[in-house]
C-alpha cells in the first residue's frame, strides 16, 4: 500500500511517501503499526485527534476499512481557504 504524509506529519517522519506491506484492516491499525516500528512515527502519530486520513484520495475515518485501498494519506487537519 502506498502511504503519503503531508505537512508536519511529513516533516516529523522525514518522508513524503513510502510503500508499506501491512495486514492492518483499518487506518487506525496501520497508524498503530507504524508507530511501533520507529520513534519518528510514534512522534508524528502521538495525538490521534490531530490526524486526518484519506483513503484513495477521499476523506475517511480512523476505523474505515483498508480493504482494496491502494493509497492512504495521513495528515494534520486541513487549513485551506
Amino acid at each position: 500500500m502506498q502511504v503519503l504524509y503531508f505537512a508536519w506529519v511529513r516533516e516529523r517522519i522525514g518522508l513524503a511517501k513510502e510503500q508499506v506491506e501491512t495486514n492492518a484492516t483499518t487506518a487506525g491499525e496501520l497508524i498503530a503499526e507504524l508507530s511501533n516500528k520507529d520513534p519518528r512515527y510514534a512522534a508524528a502519530f502521538e495525538d490521534l485527534s490531530a490526524l486526518r486520513v484519506a483513503l484513495d484520495q477521499e476523506l475517511a475515518e480512523m476505523d474505515s476499512p483498508l480493504e482494496n485501498v491502494r493509497e492512504i494519506a495521513i495528515f494534520p487537519p486541513m487549513t485551506g481557504g
Partner: protein
Amino acid sequence: MRIRVQEDPFNYGEIADGFGAGQLETGAVVTFTGIVRDLDTSDMTAMEIEHYPGMTQKALEAMAQDAKTRWSLQDVLIIHRYGRLAPGERIMMVATAARHRNEAFEAASFLMDYLKSRAPFWKKEIRGSNDGTWVAAKTEDEDALQRW
C-alpha cells in the same frame, strides 16, 4: 463549473468580470477572494501552501457539485493556489452565480467553510530565516461546517 488548482497568480479582475457573463438567468454574482495576511506580527516573509495533488482537484469538484445540488446555481468557480506566496497576494477565489442574491451568498459561504476544513491544503508561515510554523486549524472553522 470551473475548478483550478494552480501555483501561478490569477487575474482576479478579469476572472470576476467574465464570470456569469452572458447567462441571462443570472441575477446575482458573489465573488470572494482570500489574501495572505500577517496578523500576528509584521515579520512574515512568505506563506507556503502544501497540497495533495492527487486529491485536491477532485475534492474541490465534489464541493462545487455539492453546492450545485443545495442551491440553484448557474455557475460555480473555485481557484486555489499552492506554493510560496508573499503577504498581500491572493491565495484563492470563489464565485457563484444564481438568480437571486441569497443563493449566491449562501453557496459562496458554504464553499468557503468547506475549503477551510475539507480541502487538502496546509499553510505554513515563514518568518525570517526560520523553518516556518504550520498554521493550526481553528475549532471555529470546524464548527462552521455544522450549519450546513
